[in-house]
């Protein structure tokens, strides 16, 4: 009958539900397989012995054999010890060798010689056991005959045997043993099948699994303890235990995943599939803060490491055959003394292991070889700084060391010409002569490929009358007449400016080198993490790699990937080196490094900061009176930002504060800067009245070589508060810039760099509608109505509606009441009091005095601004005079009387 449980090549037997057993006998419908998968032209199935007692015996016999192996090795070695002793006896301790030199001596029927002979037999056994134990599982031989996917179980049985793979036959010993142990345990627990939890629990004891758990910052014992609580015991007295369908599926998936990387299966390959098929294990893992995908990713990391180690070993083996001198293996090349003066042999450096490995760039390397194979002699790699152009050339050098290149590259040297030393400090004529001499030498040598890094540096150097010859033309001419083969690099901008339209551009095949995709980036991160682990003895968790990738993408845009990511990883590793004990590079370490490096607080929120964020409104109100709505809005946005619960493609928040002058709009921005950014001045303040002219855009984003005020400030301090004072006064073109900032969180400066605004808080203030607000408040109009009126009638006259619409919050600041003024005056006087306290002078303010000053310091037109001048004139200036005239001394008390004037009460003389 047709099997309907066929999804994506998976077959699950309807009759036995994937168990393979029906009433204690192999299921007839599926011949006992239960589950199988058809893919890659093969039928994958699991034929596992069900008699658990036999598996137990096999495990025990394996343990005994391990012990026997040790005894065999010892027996073999003992013969050597015995014969050395016997010879020593016969030769008076290795002085007189005459007796030992005869055949008769060696065939005496004495026990030491017999012991030697028997130990030789054990020596043969030792060789046998060593070779047998070193045999790891093999990769299957893939069938080359294509077969169609079967439609049902009978169709599966008809497949040729070479298209059927029992994955058990290809399991390495340690995985077989772990599955066997899980089966035995199920048998001892009297259950009839091995569950995914059962096998997962056994795998926790595997050393590779322990290493994976360490990478994920998980404790295997915790997981084992939780699993034990849910361990099922049954009543099955049968001698057979099958693998559940989930375990079979996990087996096939794990093995297939390993084979897709062209590697043998590892124990860690089965963890992700087992988690997927066990809701219990999934819950336990999630509770501990890990995810199923991370298990698969780290298992893949282990395979990558193995693959890189193998590649590295192969390269070292092949490097032995590469000559260490300038000569090729046939000694046909000519010496190049002049070139050697300006150049550096990359193939020799690769042979001596001095170049970093090039990782995950097979596609680009193939493009280079293809371009040369197609007959182009010159190649130019074009890409942003940091994208890995030079790394690609190093990868080419490594391929040439392995001779894993087309024949025209075999037995050749890749030599990097030091362009700065070639053209530095010499006249263009001399530089031309040098370059021509190098070309002649290379042509005559016949075994050299040249590499020019940043070849655009030689463009634009002109020689001769009327600047007739460009240095790059010399190289171009050499390529045209086939005098040499070369590879070069240039940034995109410099390629366009100096190479593309010139003769050199026509003679170089352009290969674009783009930023690696996510998968390539993670492979690079994993490789380099392993490299630094070996070099510095640090250990990376997987979460650290993920965080480093996130950080390198979110908080910085220069240089290009992967240099950004590798910079974060290396910096974090160096930071971890300062730790005592195990140098663990965890997510926290990466965040700590990134916070310091990029000036953005992304380290994990500690308790102190947590408390501060939760009480931010209270803290702000210690300095700012009233305006609760604005304070709440700003505090909430900061909390969201810190726990990363926001859209990261826009600024943290952008607010528009409206209201009369002197009511606290700018004061709130300053307070926030002081409370959260540490300093009142730690904000980027733009007085928009300076940007009223059309050309003011240049002041903001830069012009030609000059950096813009705003873009440069944000570039240097990506996490900052931007205050746009009196935004309505700016030119409309300026306001249009902010449309893009609010939408995308980005701005491009005059130098073409993308400036990231996604970690800024933008506060714009405006006095638009101030008279209306004063009037409406006096009339008792509802505040929401006031705001709506201002937006609909006043703001639209100074700002486009689409800009108004993009603000996260538009807050109308209330005019100050007398109560507010008293509170503000009190705050200011307390500041003066603190300053006097430092001089050990007491300070008292009468209630009437406070009220007097509050009233005198308030002006409906200017808000609380006059208060500052008033306090300065009536309090600070007078205090300063008194202090200088020694009329005010330590332990005296300054009193503000009911007229707001200063009185001094002298302290008693001691």
């Amino acid at each position: 009958m047709a099997d309907e449980n066929k999804i994506n090549g998976w077959f699950v037997c309807e009759n036995c539900h994937g168990l393979g057993v029906d009433n204690g006998r192999p299921c007839r419908n599926c011949k006992g397989w239960g589950v199988g998968w058809f893919g890659a032209n093969c039928w994958f199935f699991v034929d596992w012995p069900t008699r658990w007692q036999k598996l137990k015996e096999k495990l025990i016999s394996q343990k005994i054999l391990n012990i026997l192996d040790v005894l065999i090795y010892l027996a073999a070695i003992s013969g050597v010890i015995v014969i050395v002793w016997y010879i020593g006896q016969a030769t008076s301790w290795f002085i007189n060798w005459s007796a030992v030199g005869t055949v008769d001596w060696w065939i005496q029927p004495v026990w030491p010689l017999r012991w030697l002979a028997w130990s030789a037999v054990f020596g043969l056994l030792t060789v046998y056991r060593l070779i047998k134990n070193s045999q790891i599982a093999r990769l299957p031989r893939w069938p080359d005959v294509e077969v169609a996917m079967p439609l049902d179980w009978p169709g599966v049985f008809e497949l040729p045997s070479r298209n059927k793979l029992n994955v058990i036959d290809y399991l390495p010993q340690e995985i077989f043993s772990s599955l066997a142990r899980a089966t035995v345990r199920a048998g001892q627990n009297k259950v009839d099948q091995v569950s995914p939890e059962g096998w997962f629990g056994v795998l926790l004891n595997d050393s590779l699994v322990k290493a994976l758990l360490f990478r994920l910052n998980l404790n295997g014992q915790d997981i084992a303890d939780k699993l034990k609580k849910y361990e099922v015991k049954g009543e099955n007295h049968s001698l057979t235990v099958s693998l559940s369908s989930e375990v079979k599926i996990a087996l096939i998936q794990g093995v297939a995943s390993a084979w897709s990387t062209n590697d043998l299966p590892l124990s860690v390959d089965f963890l992700a599939p087992l988690i997927h098929h066990s809701s219990l294990v999934k819950e336990i893992i999630y509770d501990l803060g890990a995810k199923e995908e991370q298990f698969a990713a780290v298992a893949n990391w282990f395979h990558i490491n193995r693959h890189l180690a193998k590649t590295y070993k192969q390269m070292r083996d092949l490097a032995q055959f590469k000559p260490s001198s300038n000569m090729d293996r046939a000694y046909t090349a000519k010496a190049t003394p002049f070139l050697n003066h300006y150049a550096h042999d990359l193939t020799l450096a690769a042979k001596n292991n001095q170049l970093p490995l090039c990782v995950a760039r097979q596609k680009e390397l193939s493009q280079i070889l293809d371009a040369w194979s197609a007959g182009r002699l010159g190649i130019i790699l074009v890409g942003s700084a940091g994208v890995g152009k030079t790394s690609l050339v190093y990868g080419l050098a490594q391929l040439m060391v392995e001779e894993n290149v087309p024949s025209f590259l075999q037995d050749k040297r890749l030599v990097e010409v030091d362009v700065p030393s070639l053209i530095g400090g010499v006249s263009p004529e001399e530089a031309q002569a040098n370059l021509e001499r190098i070309i002649v030498e290379v042509n005559q040598a016949g075994n050299i490929i040249l590499f020019f890094d940043q070849v655009d540096k030689i463009a634009g150097l002109t020689v001769g009358e009327e600047q007739s010859l460009d240095l790059s033309d010399i190289l171009a001419n050499a390529l045209q007449r086939g005098a040499l083969r070369c590879i070069t690099t240039a940034s995109m901008e410099n390629y366009r400016k100096y190479i593309a339209e010139r003769l050199l551009g026509a003679n170089l095949a352009k290969i674009d080198v783009t930023e690696p995709d996510d998968q390539q980036l993670m492979i690079m991160a994993e490789h380099w993490a392993s490299y630094w682990e070996k070099r510095w003895g640090v250990v990376f968790t997987y979460a650290a790699l993920e965080t480093a990738k996130m950080v390198s993408e979110r908080y910085t845009t220069e240089p290009a990937q992967p240099t950004r990511l590798l910079g974060v990883l290396e910096g974090s590793a160096r930071l971890a080196l300062r730790q005592p004990g195990v140098k663990l590079v965890s997510e926290a370490v990466v965040r700590e490094y990134a916070s310091k490096e990029f000036g953005v607080p992304i380290e994990q929120v500690g308790r102190e900061e947590s408390e501060m964020l939760l009480n931010l409104e209270e803290i702000i109100h210690k300095r700012l009176i009233g305006q609760e709505e604005a304070v709440n809005m700003v505090a909430a946005s900061l909390r969201r930002a810190r726990v990363e619960l926001r859209d990261t493609n826009k600024p943290i928040a952008n607010f528009l504060f409206l209201g009369p002058t002197g009511v606290g709009k700018t004061e709130l921005a300053k307070t926030l800067a002081e409370v959260y950014f540490g300093d009142e001045e730690a904000m980027i303040r733009l007085d928009m009245s300076e940007y009223q002219l059309l050309g003011s855009v240049n002041k903001m984003i830069g012009h030609d070589e000059e950096a813009g005020y705003l873009t440069e400030a944000v570039r240097q301090h990506p996490f900052s508060l931007i205050l746009l004072d009196e935004i309505e006064k700016a030119h409309s073109d300026i306001l249009n810039l902010f449309l893009q900032v609010f939408d995308d969180g980005r701005l491009t400066d005059a130098q073409g760099r993308t400036i990231d605004f996604s970690n800024t808080i933008i506060i714009a203030t405006s006095n638009a509608g101030a008279p209306y607000i004063m009037e409406a408040v006096q009339q008792g109009v509802d505040f929401n109505a006031i705001r709506q009126h201002i937006i609909d009638n006043e703001l639209v006259q100074v700002m486009r509606p689409e800009l108004i619409n993009r603000f996260d919050g538009i807050v109308v600041f209330r005019p100050l009441t007398m109560e507010d003024m008293v509170a503000i005056t009190n705050l200011q006087l307390q500041k003066i009091g603190r300053q006097l306290a430092e001089k050990n002078i007491n300070f008292e303010v009468t209630e009437q005095g406070l009220a007097y000053l509050a009233k005198a310091g308030y002006d409906p037109k200017f808000g609380a601004r006059p208060l500052r001048r008033l306090l300065q004139d009536t309090i600070n200036n007078v205090l300063a005079e008194k202090l200088l005239a020694k009329e005010l001394k330590r332990r005296d008390t300054v009193i503000i009387n009911e007229d707001g004037q200063i009185e001094i009460r002298s302290a008693q003389q001691l």
Binding site: K54, E57, K58, I60, S61, I64, L65, L68, D104, I107, Q108, P109, L113, R114, A117, W118, A120, V121, L124, L125, V127, Y128, I131, K132, Q320, F321, M327, R329, A330, Y331, T332, A333, K334, A335, D411, Q444, A445, G446
Partner: protein
């Protein structure tokens, strides 16, 4: 009993393994070694370039000297190669003979010896 059988089977399989898989393993190992030596000696490279002057020197005397040097190199490398081949052959032959020689030695020690 089953455990004893499993262990005995593993140990008693030794002679069968030695003259089948083991010998094949040994031959492959020495084959790889010989290939590596051949690659290192680069004999074919020298033979192919016997008439190509060394160091890019193209005058008549350089050509003659180059030819003579290459000829000597080829003879020396060929000799080394033949020694490597001989070592490989001896090693391959020794494998099946080793157990026979050891057991024969044992026989002499127990039953042969002096008359």
């Amino acid at each position: 009993m089953n455990i004893i059988w499993l262990i005995s089977r593993e140990i008693l399989a030794w002679p069968f393994w030695w003259y089948s898989y083991g010998w094949s393993f040994w031959m492959k190992y020495w084959g790889r070694w010989l290939k590596k030596q051949g690659h290192s000696l680069a004999l074919l490279v020298w033979i192919k370039n016997i008439f190509v002057p060394m160091y890019g020197q193209r005058d008549i005397w350089s050509f003659i000297i180059s030819f003579v040097v290459r000829l000597v190199q080829i003879i020396v490398r060929l000799a080394i190669w033949l020694i490597c081949v001989a070592v490989t052959v001896i090693a391959i032959i020794l494998w099946p003979l080793a157990p026979l020689m050891i057991f024969y030695y044992l026989y002499i020690l127990y039953y042969g010896g002096r008359k």
